[in-house]
């Protein structure tokens, strides 16, 4: 009898705990717009290790958007805030971090990312009904039917085609692919290889390098022996620096043109490779393909002014002024915030379907260039289309977005320059 009473208590306790956990995890258990504290946006990316710059560029966008949202009175009577979710560029760590975030963050309105380890972490958010403004390039999401996944940047597969288009435009008809052997870097390779071949190019060697080796002389010798006119690459800064230094040494001090992916367009990469092969050679021989954004225009002015004003949360903020990912991540927060206002609810289950309402083009819609403008227009009963710092986003049926790419390099002063643009139409020609 006593045992039975004990087991009843145990069952009741378990039910109570489960109920409490469920309340904590599921935002739908409170009333639609009530917030009992700040509204939190996640920033799920890599903040440690060789790819730590990915997280910094993402959260720079988050902080900037949130500061402008708060200046405009916040959301539903509360301030907004950013919460870093460090996936450490490792699937296991990423899942643990995402699971913890979903379980512990109060008023979790949505998240930027997931980034590089999205195939592992995205299901965590999807099953918890958390809206994601993803900046992953993983091709696994090119035709996703996941409801809460939205990709605000073109996929890496499009990036691979864009690199091929750019090389072919420069009349580079033989090429080497030198990518590190991790899944993040390898995701661009299949479309790069197939697109380059389709355009008439000859991929003379496709080499996977093991990151962070102390020497890449053997790899450099193999590449040189294949006589490429151009080298496509994505690897962490130190790996590419070591590789290209060896390549230059073995090639009698001569460099070969380099076309990098978007992740090579970071200050860390430019410094490491510039130091290894000389800044002059980096300026002369390197371009990286990244989603096309213009560091100008009304929406960018709003973004940049707020970004530069927030040096307390964002160290050296000017480094992100023309960063495509910081801009689109900033846009991701604004899109979620405006969708919340459109849905009159901060809960992803309510506002997720309104993302299309504030981003898709349509007749009679008011173009807005900032959160404040959007908030005012929505309050006035208008329908809006958000035009962000990274341009206007137009999601397809798979919640993906295929935009233009720019080929970016550096000038002698170390500033980014745009060598040219690869349009979405160019990419489509190679991909179909």
């Amino acid at each position: 009898m006593r045992k039975m009473r004990r087991s009843r208590w145990a069952v009741a306790s378990i039910v109570a705990v489960v109920a409490l956990v469920a309340c904590g995890n599921n935002p739908t258990t409170t009333s639609p717009t009530a917030l009992n504290g700040p509204l939190t946006f996640g920033s799920d990316s890599s903040f440690t290790g060789p790819n730590a710059s990915f997280g910094l560029e993402q959260v720079a966008g988050c902080y900037t958007a949130v500061s402008l949202i708060n200046q405009s009175g916040g959301l539903f009577g509360q301030q907004a805030q950013c919460q870093i979710i460090d996936n450490r560029n490792d699937p296991a760590d990423g899942v643990a971090a995402a699971t913890k975030a979903v379980a512990t963050i109060q008023n979790f309105g949505g998240t930027l990312g997931p980034g590089g380890v999205a195939t592992a972490t995205e299901p965590v958010y999807e099953s918890a009904n958390i809206t994601m403004m993803a900046d992953t390039g993983d091709s696994a999401f090119n035709r996703t039917t996941d409801k809460y996944f939205w990709r605000v940047t073109p996929p890496d597969s499009a990036g691979g085609y864009a690199m091929a288009v750019w090389a072919l435009k420069q009349k580079f008809m033989s090429a080497a692919a030198v990518f590190s052997n991790d899944t993040t870097a390898q995701t661009s390779v299949p479309t790069l290889v197939s697109g380059y071949k389709k355009g008439g190019g000859n991929m003379v060697i496709n080499l996977q390098v093991v990151p962070d080796q102390s020497s890449y002389q053997v790899e450099a010798a193999r590449v040189l022996a294949a006589h490429p006119q151009v080298i496509f690459t994505e690897a962490d800064p130190q790996t590419d620096a070591t590789f290209f230094k060896a390549l230059k040494q073995l090639n009698n001090g001569q460099m070969i043109p380099i076309i990098g992916t978007a992740p090579t367009i970071t200050a860390d990469w430019a410094k490491a490779v510039g130091d290894a092969v000389s800044v002059g050679d980096l300026d002369k021989y390197y371009v990286g393909l990244q989603p096309y954004v213009t560091a100008s225009g009304k929406a960018w002015q709003v973004f940049n002014t707020a970004l530069l004003a927030d040096s307390t949360q964002i160290p050296n903020p000017s480094q992100w002024s023309s960063d495509a990912y910081s801009m689109t991540d900033y846009d991701g927060i604004n899109i979620m915030a405006l969708a919340m206002l459109d849905a009159h609810s901060w809960k992803p289950t309510d506002y997720n379907s309104h993302v299309i309402n504030v981003t898709a083009p349509g007749s009679g819609k008011t173009d807005v260039f900032s959160f404040a403008e959007g908030k005012t227009a929505l309050a006035a009963g208008k329908t809006i289309r958000y035009n962000g710092a990274g341009g206007a986003v137009n999601f397809d049926q798979w919640h993906n977005y295929g935009g233009d790419f720019s080929a970016n390099g550096y000038d002698a002063a170390g500033n980014q320059t745009t060598a040219g643009v690869v349009t979405a139409a160019d990419v489509k020609k190679l991909s179909t």
Binding site: S214, R222, L224, Q249
Partner: protein, 295 residues
């Protein structure tokens, strides 16, 4: 451009670094019977010491000497305060390996806290590139090979021409008998740790010289290849370690070149396993056995 010659050239550079490190590793094991898996961290101590001196404007050659000294001192201190006390308590080989793994973890994380996760490189004139026999080697790589040759000659002279060397060989063969013959075992052991540490420090610095960038885990990353070279040569056999280093350096380079760079470390493991299976006493086993018979 002959790829075979190029790959052999790169392999020789790797062999040079490996030879210095594995001779130090095996020499210390032969005399003290401690399989020191914190050896990679001691290498990093040497490399970092040289880096600090080099960054403050000191020549890399002064850095090399300082790196050797600092690693020798750290090595001696490790024995005096950690490995020695455990050995006196009767801890056997396996237990001591666990202790060295613990020391390795403590040291690597300590170095990470002190030096950070940055990548380091030395400032020195790279000099011209040398081309010959189909090989292309930079000045620093040629220097690394020369340093290795000098170090190997020095080790040979030490072991064969000096009283200390003979005492070390005697201790290595039979410690009890050596003690009975009046050899001061503790001093000989200290000398072995110092010499092993110095070679380890030199290996750390020349490794740093031969690559573009290195970090606090670079030494640890090379450990398995060092151990493999020592095992291939016959653990406790300095001359065998030299041959083991030569074999491993060239084979891993050829495997990376002709198959896949990802197989570089795997090939070192495969060689290690094959030797343990079919020739556990190492490449010079027959020579050593013959000498024992003659003696």
């Amino acid at each position: 451009m002959s790829l075979l010659a190029l790959f052999i050239g790169f392999g020789l550079v790797t062999s040079a670094v490996l030879a210095i490190a594995s001779v130090g590793f095996t020499l210390q094991y032969a005399v003290t019977n401690v399989l020191n898996l914190a050896y990679g961290e001691v290498m990093t101590v040497g490399a970092l010491t040289a880096y600090v001196i080099n960054k403050r404007g000191g020549s890399i050659w002064i850095g090399l000497v300082a790196g050797a000294l600092s690693a020798a001192i750290v090595s001696l201190l490790l024995n005096r305060f950690i490995f020695g006390p455990f050995a006196r308590r009767g801890l056997k080989l396996f237990g001591m390996v666990i202790v060295t793994i613990a020391v390795s973890l403590i040291m690597s994380n300590g170095l990470l806290i002190i030096a950070g996760a940055s990548t380091f490189s030395y400032n020195f004139d790279a000099g011209p590139t040398f081309t010959g026999l189909g090989m292309i080697l930079t000045t620093e790589q040629v220097v690394v090979i020369v340093i290795a040759i000098v170090a190997m000659i020095a080790v040979r002279l030490l072991l064969t021409r000096t009283k200390l060397g003979r005492a070390m060989r005697a201790t290595s063969t039979d410690e009890s008998l050596a003690r009975a013959c009046g050899i001061p075992i503790r001093r000989v052991t200290d000398a072995a740790w110092l010499i092993s540490g110095a070679l380890c420090g030199i290996a750390g610095v020349v490794l740093g010289m031969s690559v573009t960038g290195w970090g606090v885990f670079t030494g640890q990353g090379l450990l398995i290849t060092i151990v493999a070279a020592a095992v291939v040569g016959g653990i406790g056999q300095p001359y065998g370690a030299m041959l083991g280093a030569l074999l491993l350096g060239i084979v891993t380079s050829l495997v990376a070149g002709y198959f896949d760079p990802a197989y570089r470390d795997i090939s070192a493991f495969v060689i290690l396993v094959l030797f343990l299976l079919f020739r556990p006493k190492g490449i010079l086993a027959d020579v050593v056995a013959q000498r024992e018979v003659v003696a």
